[in-house]
């Protein structure tokens, strides 16, 4: 999509109701919404359930196809589809991570990962679906190996953060793990070839990093840039020499490229970089904002500019924003107001 010389708006397509408490997170099922496969979205909530929503090919509207309940006993904080879309992992304040298998319209809990001392806050699959990472309030990051027969073996418990870990996210192409925390830092974790995982880099205020809780991070399509969002009201763009990383010849450190500040006035909870290059944020001021790279390249101009701000996107905090696998056409958002909204980016 060309963004030059056009104006855009986020048009609300549908409001999904059903959760009875705040919705913390949404996740699009991979490879849906393309090639005639109906789009599928998962959402998780303070009501202890996960809901699966599917777009009806006939009406074009999303309907709740399944409610995954009676497994978690506390808030489900985040959910993540395996790359194949066969499984969904759910992280809960009940200290467990559940693995669900999808057969037809049914979802069955096939495994429960225990080990964290208390709240699990985030879960992420690596690109091949062979590894899973979880993190939580106990300040640790766990790496699990996915074995045949729905077995999951913990291969590493990573200590290093000094406060609770808000999110884990695997790099989209290589097996490098990123975590961000209430301790204001982002940590990069790498395997040394001997099944030993360790922290290879910590991005802090000393590296032009954040000055308060880092809530989320997201990668661009090529994986050579990362965006992080924080309670310090800023976004940070980080970059790496991706060729170096891929060759496996040593670790290429991530460097601060720029900060995007002055746009948010309350905590930024969620950030997602679309495959087409648009950065969406969800924040505690109930708004959704979209940013794009400033291609004008004029001296003294910021490197990223605000494409649009959708005020009052929800009635309360926006906790999660996620672009659909289709690219930057559809955006899903989740809120404290208990609803999920589907938005379409249209030029006006």
């Amino acid at each position: 999509m060309s963004l030059e010389g056009e104006s855009f708006e986020l048009r609300e397509i549908q409001r999904l109701e059903g959760h009875t408490d705040r919705v913390w997170s949404v996740a699009w099922k991979p490879s849906t919404g393309v090639d005639g496969v109906p789009a599928v979205l998962a959402s998780c909530s303070g009501d202890k359930t996960v809901r699966i929503w599917e777009k009806s090919p006939s009406t074009g509207s999303f309907q709740c196809k399944a409610v995954l309940d009676e497994t978690h006993t506390r808030t489900v904080r985040s959910c993540a589809w395996s790359p194949s879309g066969k499984n969904i992992a759910t992280a809960s304040f009940d200290a467990t991570t559940a693995i669900w298998e999808n057969v037809g319209d049914e979802y069955e809990c096939v495994s429960t990962l225990e080990g964290h001392e208390n709240e699990v806050k985030s879960v992420s699959w690596n690109a091949s679906g062979s590894l899973l990472a979880t993190c939580g309030r106990d300040k640790s990051v766990w790496i699990w190996e996915v074995l045949p027969g729905n077995e999951f073996e913990c291969v590493s418990v990573l200590q290093g953060h000094t406060q609770d870990v808000k999110m884990v996210q695997w790099h989209p192409h290589v097996d490098i793990l990123f975590s961000c925390s209430y301790d204001n830092s982002i940590k990069v974790w790498l395997e040394d070839g001997d099944d030993d995982w360790h922290c290879v880099q910590t991005l802090t205020e000393a590296n032009n990093g954040h000055t308060s809780t880092v809530w989320a991070l997201s990668f661009n399509a090529s994986g050579d840039k990362m965006v992080t969002c924080s309670d310090d009201l800023s976004l940070k763009i980080w970059g790496v020499d991706v060729m170096n990383t891929k060759s496996g010849e040593g670790y290429a450190p991530w460097k601060h490229i720029c900060s995007i500040s002055g746009y948010h006035d309350r905590t930024i909870f969620s950030v997602d970089w679309s495959s087409e290059g648009i950065i969406a944020t969800g924040a505690a001021d109930d708004a959704i904002r979209l940013f794009v790279e400033n291609k004008d390249n004029l001296v003294d101009e910021p490197m990223y500019k605000l494409l649009l701000k959708k005020d009052k996107a929800h009635e309360m905090d926006v906790n999660s924003v996620q672009w659909s696998p289709e690219g930057d056409k559809l955006l899903a958002s989740a809120s404290d107001d208990g609803t999920i909204k589907i938005w379409e980016l249209v030029s006006v």
């Binding site: 303070g46 808030t75 904080r77 304040f93 208390n118 209430y182 309350r266 009635e315 309360m316 107001d337």
Partner: protein, 158 residues
């Protein structure tokens, strides 16, 4: 058990008289009435201190002046003053304030809660915790903490 208390001998102040709110003469009964400082103070003044049979008003943990409100922007900031600098119950008091406001203010409201500058040894850390909504949500799922909050907010206490 007195020795277990964090502040064994708190200073207790007189409660202020309840003021009746004066309504202007030309009342439009259909107009929305803005939420003001006094209304929020009235919601918070009778919350019980977690370790004493006194209200937050009687201990001057909360005063009317410590409440900033902007009804147009749907924003409230409450600044409370723990009775002692090392009060380990500061987070609990803050949690009570937040829960009370969550229950009585319209959901459009944004609430910031903090301890008064200089009033607490670990001010920044208490403030950060009280304004991390994920931690607040997790705390309120803990039966022990929820019981403590419910006890302090119990309407029977006055």
């Amino acid at each position: 058990m007195v020795s277990d208390l964090i502040n064994a001998n708190p200073t207790v102040y007189e409660k202020r008289d309840r003021r009746t709110r004066t309504a202007p003469n030309d009342v439009d009964e259909y107009a929305a009435e803005p939420i003001d400082q006094l209304e929020i103070f009235d919601h918070l003044r009778d919350i019980k201190d977690p370790e004493h049979p006194y209200s937050l008003e009687e201990l001057k943990v909360i005063t009317e002046d410590a409440i900033e409100v902007d009804d147009k922007r749907s924003y409230v900031r409450v600044t409370f003053t723990p009775t002692v600098e090392h009060c380990s119950l500061a987070a609990a008091i803050g949690l009570c304030l937040r829960v009370k406001l969550m229950r009585c203010l319209p959901s459009r409201y944004k609430v910031d809660i903090r301890v008064a500058p200089g009033s607490h040894a670990t001010e920044a850390s208490v403030n950060k915790q009280l304004n991390d909504k994920e931690r607040v949500a997790a705390a309120l799922e803990s039966p022990n903490l929820l019981n403590l909050v419910e006890e302090c907010l119990a309407p029977s206490f006055a």
